[in-house]
């Protein structure tokens, strides 16, 4: 009996010291981690909608009910007026969730850029979704029509060529972009109407 208490106390002591150590590192690292995540987010915003000078998270205003795909709606302001919409969307890829950021320009109704933020896809295959070569395929697409994934070089304006041997990942990204696109058209479509005269 005495032995058990002795051993238990010993383990408790080890755990307590270990806990103190982990806690100390956490206190030091947590602010850095937070800063890291925030900086990454600001950097991504800039990449996806370079013209904005201020980005506000207005998810509560535009996403009244929780959405399966759309996680955040951020509005980019230029000189105090809303100019672009940045959607954070999450879909299921081949190996796990794929998080993307899709930017739309309110004046032209076009996709400004798409960026894959987080993914756990196969390196060398689906992970290529984070390469600019793939992400650029979304640039400048019109928000009015649904995007499709094609395995061959695109023949139509609304087609996105899939990453070789990674159709599931390509479809996951496109699904996220399409969800954002639908929300954008439904919510901000009115602004776009002004310019429809110039759209083919």
């Amino acid at each position: 009996m005495g032995d058990i208490i002795k051993l238990g106390l010993f383990l408790m002591m080890v755990a307590a010291v270990a806990g103190l150590g982990v806690g100390y590192v956490n206190i030091k690292a947590a602010p850095l981690i937070e800063k890291q995540i925030l900086e990454e987010k600001i950097r991504s915003f800039k990449e996806v909608y370079p013209e904005g000078d201020k980005v506000e998270n207005e998810t509560a205003k535009y996403l009244t009910a929780p959405d399966k795909i759309l996680k955040e709606v951020n509005i980019a302001y230029k000189n105090g007026t809303p100019a672009g919409v940045l959607y954070l969307a999450e879909t299921k890829g081949y190996a796990g969730p794929v998080t993307i950021l899709a930017g739309f320009d309110q004046a032209s109704g076009k996709i400004t850029a798409v960026k894959v933020l987080n993914q756990t896809e196969t390196p060398g295959l689906g992970a290529k979704a984070k390469d600019p070569a793939f992400q650029n395929r979304y640039k400048g697409k019109d928000s009015a029509v649904a995007l499709e994934v094609s395995k061959t070089p695109p023949t139509k304006e609304n087609q996105i060529q899939a990453i070789t041997a990674s159709t599931i990942t390509s479809k996951a990204v496109t699904k996220g972009v399409n969800a954002a696109r639908e929300h954008f058209v439904a919510t901000f479509g009115a602004t776009k109407q002004v310019k429809t005269g110039t759209v083919q």
Binding site: L11, A18, G21, V22, A29, L32, N118, G124
Partner: protein, 197 residues
């Protein structure tokens, strides 16, 4: 054994991956690119070094009957710290290695070295053992991932060296890991017989 021998034994003679065949799970999972392989090796070496030092220092006060739970707590704490520090200072590597950083906890090489070496030797030999084993594991991961990245993605350290059409995608998928590791193990066994290490 001299300190130098404690260090060098982990590199070839008792290489944790190729000779002891320990830690094969991370070795198969993260070796899809050289960058990931070397990053994993570095994170692993850090944890092994810290845990070997701590366990060697505490070897006379840890009661034999609860040594394994004590080791596990110590190793898990160091892994958690490494995880946090990597997230704070090397975010891109942290992202790439993902779940495999916390899984260093269950890397059997670390527990194996704690039980087989650090708990029976003083601090200095334990440090040499950890550095040698860490370097050996890192070299092994680097070797496996070099074959897989070059053959599977046609690149080395992210730089494209083969035309896009040549690589065999199989090599960066799980079967490629088994094939590469198997071939390397066979080759090293053959060499070992020939030169009788």
């Amino acid at each position: 054994m001299s300190l130098m021998q404690e260090f060098t034994k982990g590199i070839i003679k008792e290489n944790p991956l190729f000779r002891l065949v320990l830690g094969t799970c991370p070795a198969l999972a993260v070796t899809t690119s050289v960058e990931n392989g070397l990053g994993m090796g570095a994170a692993f070496t850090g944890v092994l070094l810290a845990s070997n030092i701590a366990i060697s220092l505490m070897r006379s006060i840890i009661p034999a009957s609860v040594r394994i739970p004590a080791y596990v707590v110590i190793i898990a704490s160091f892994v958690t710290m490494t995880d946090q520090l990597m997230h704070a200072f090397t975010p891109s590597l942290y992202k790439a290695l993902g779940i495999f950083i916390p899984l260093i906890v269950v890397n059997c090489i670390i527990l194996g070295r704690a039980e087989a070496f650090a708990s029976r030797n003083s601090v200095l030999p334990s440090i040499m053992d950890a550095l040698g084993m860490g370097l050996g594991f890192t070299i092994a991961l680097g070797l496996v991932s070099a074959f897989r990245e070059v053959l599977g993605a046609g690149s080395f350290l992210g730089i494209q060296i083969l035309p896009e059409s040549i690589p065999a995608i199989l090599m960066i998928l799980p079967p490629g890991g088994f094939i590469t590791l198997g071939c390397l193990l066979a080759l090293l066994n053959k060499l070992q017989k020939k030169y009788a290490w």
